[in-house]
């Protein structure tokens, strides 16, 4: 099965870097349009949500396919999510707020959609920091509890997007529906019987 093969991780790394490569290429080839700052902000935001949804899909995939190996990619996908959200945040802080923390904080306090987005970003920081093996060992059972924050983060992220749209709710709506399906999957009664305890039996 290719999921377990030695080259699957390098391939996933390459796939995760493709959006970045695309944006860098576009940046050097006049491909970001008339408002490159807005384009980069939107693209990195979109990719953050997409990576977060993919990361959250791995556990359901394990259960639906009976392949435990999906979980091998969870940490790297989570960290790529953090990478894209960091780009998203930095572009906004630098270009929209000219690196002025006061102006940034005013925006965070005053604009609910930014409050949500910034909270989601802040909550992702501890998850990124505790994603290495040493921290997993050190935190023990608490690690799992801490990383359940991701369920809150996806909700904040989707609301952040829904709340900033002017009239066309199609794209954030699709993300919201996928997020709700993935979250619903984690609520006990919806799970398929037996899926939780023995994911590799089917």
């Amino acid at each position: 099965m290719w999921l377990k093969s030695a080259w699957s991780k390098p391939v996933v790394h390459l796939l995760c870097l493709l959006p970045l490569a695309g944006l860098v290429w576009a940046g050097f080839n006049d491909g970001l349009g008339a408002n490159p700052v807005e384009k980069l902000t939107h693209e990195t935001g979109d990719w953050t949500l997409r990576f977060l949804l993919i990361t959250l899909s791995l556990t359901p995939l394990r259960q639906w396919t009976g392949q435990a190996s999906w979980i091998r990619f969870r940490r790297m996908l989570g960290l790529y999510t953090f990478f894209y959200v960091s780009c998203h945040f930095l572009i906004w802080f630098v270009a929209d707020h000219s690196l002025d923390p006061g102006s940034m904080i005013e925006d965070i306090v005053k604009r609910p959609y930014i409050t949500l987005g910034f909270s989601a970003f802040l909550l992702m920081v501890p998850l990124a920091i505790t994603s290495n093996q040493a921290m997993i060992r050190r935190l023990g059972r608490k690690w799992k509890t801490l990383h359940r924050l991701v369920y809150l983060i996806i909700l904040l992220g989707v609301l952040h997007f829904l709340w900033l749209v002017k009239a066309d709710y199609l794209e954030p709506g699709i993300y919201a529906i996928i997020a709700l399906i993935l979250l619903a999957h984690r609520i006990g009664p919806i799970k398929r019987p037996g899926a939780r305890s023995s994911p590799v039996t089917r």
């Binding site: 349009g33 008339a34 408002n35 270009a95 000219s98 925006d107 609910p112 009239a167 066309d168 199609l170």
Partner: protein
């Protein structure tokens, strides 16, 4: 900063000793290699952005750098052709404006359906360089070619009951595929008070950057009201109605708490969800301060002397 030659204060005879606006056949000769079908109707070929040779240069100018033409014609909010900024250019390529007519109705002595070309023919075309400030906090500087709206409206002889002017965009989901989704309540509608409509800064634009107006920018004819957020400057107009009561406007219908009837550019009144204090000029990275009435306070502030702009946003 803004220099307006107040030609409306000068007798017509002094301003235009001879017709500056050559007739369409003449400027078509200058266009040279353009195909036969287009010769019959140059406005219909707006997608080819024909050269307009004769216009009064610099009727209103601005000491600010013009936005690149390529940016102004590829970064557009024109939901009739899609909601992404690049959609209008891509989805309006085959949009034809042949035999364009404008229906004039309501409180006026001369209602009727007017042929667009015939309607515009008597008026000299003026170049007016205006700031354009979008409600999304970006801005451009665009050299429009157009005619004061007041001159056009006067020809319809509005009655004393005409307190407002309502405008309507074409509704044709086949030609305007964005209308196949009900993102807004089509057709797109906008409106002005009669005083705003008659204000000398308000124009009907038929061109930009020395050419006929591209489809994605609102061919063949659009409104330009430089002191209001861009969505007030309705595109591809097919209807003008004089009304006694305030007309409905599309964004106000979509979100009344966010988009008022007036929608004057005002850095002091935020959009409920985002700040209007600053804007990103297209072509720049960092934001600049937004000016009251988009920098046209001297010309238009008096229109709103009696209004609380926080309530009438």
């Amino acid at each position: 900063m803004i220099r307006i030659k107040k030609r409306w204060e000068i007798p017509e005879s002094e301003v235009t000793p001879e017709p500056l606006y050559r007739r369409r056949r003449e400027f078509m000769q200058a266009a040279g290699t353009i195909g036969g079908a287009m010769l019959l109707n140059p406005w219909a070929a707006a997608q080819a952005a024909l050269q307009i040779d004769d216009y009064q240069r610099g009727v209103v100018t601005l000491d600010e750098e013009l936005t690149e033409e390529a940016d102004a014609t590829s970064y557009n909010n024109f939901y009739e052709f899609g909601t992404d900024k690049e959609d209008p250019k891509r989805n309006s390529k085959r949009f034809k404006t042949d035999d364009w007519t404008i229906e004039v109705s309501g409180e006026c002595a001369k209602p009727g359906t007017y042929d667009f070309e015939a309607l515009m023919k008597p008026f000299p075309i003026e170049e007016r360089i205006y700031r354009l400030r979008c409600v999304e906090a970006w801005s451009m500087v665009i050299p429009w070619l157009g005619v004061p709206l007041g001159s056009i409206l006067a020809g319809f002889k509005p009655t004393s009951k005409a307190k407002y002017v309502a405008f309507r965009t074409l509704y044709d989901p086949v030609r305007m595929p964005g209308q196949q989704r009900s993102v807004l309540n089509w057709p797109y509608r906008e409106g002005l008070t009669i005083a705003e409509a008659m204000h000398p800064l308000t124009i009907m634009s038929v061109g930009m950057y020395g050419k006929t107006i591209p489809n994605q920018n609102g061919a063949p004819i659009r409104l330009v009201v430089p002191w209001k957020y861009g969505f007030k400057s309705i595109k591809s107009i097919v209807g003008i109605e004089f009304t006694e009561t305030q007309p409905q406007t599309s964004w106000n219908m979509a979100a009344p708490s966010e988009y008022g009837f007036y929608s004057n550019v005002n850095p002091e009144v935020d959009h409920p969800r985002w700040s209007q204090k600053r804007e990103r000029r297209i072509g720049e990275i960092f934001k600049r301060d937004t000016l009251m009435f988009n920098g046209y306070a001297e010309e238009v502030a008096e229109l709103y002397d009696d209004l609380d702009l926080t309530v009438n946003f």
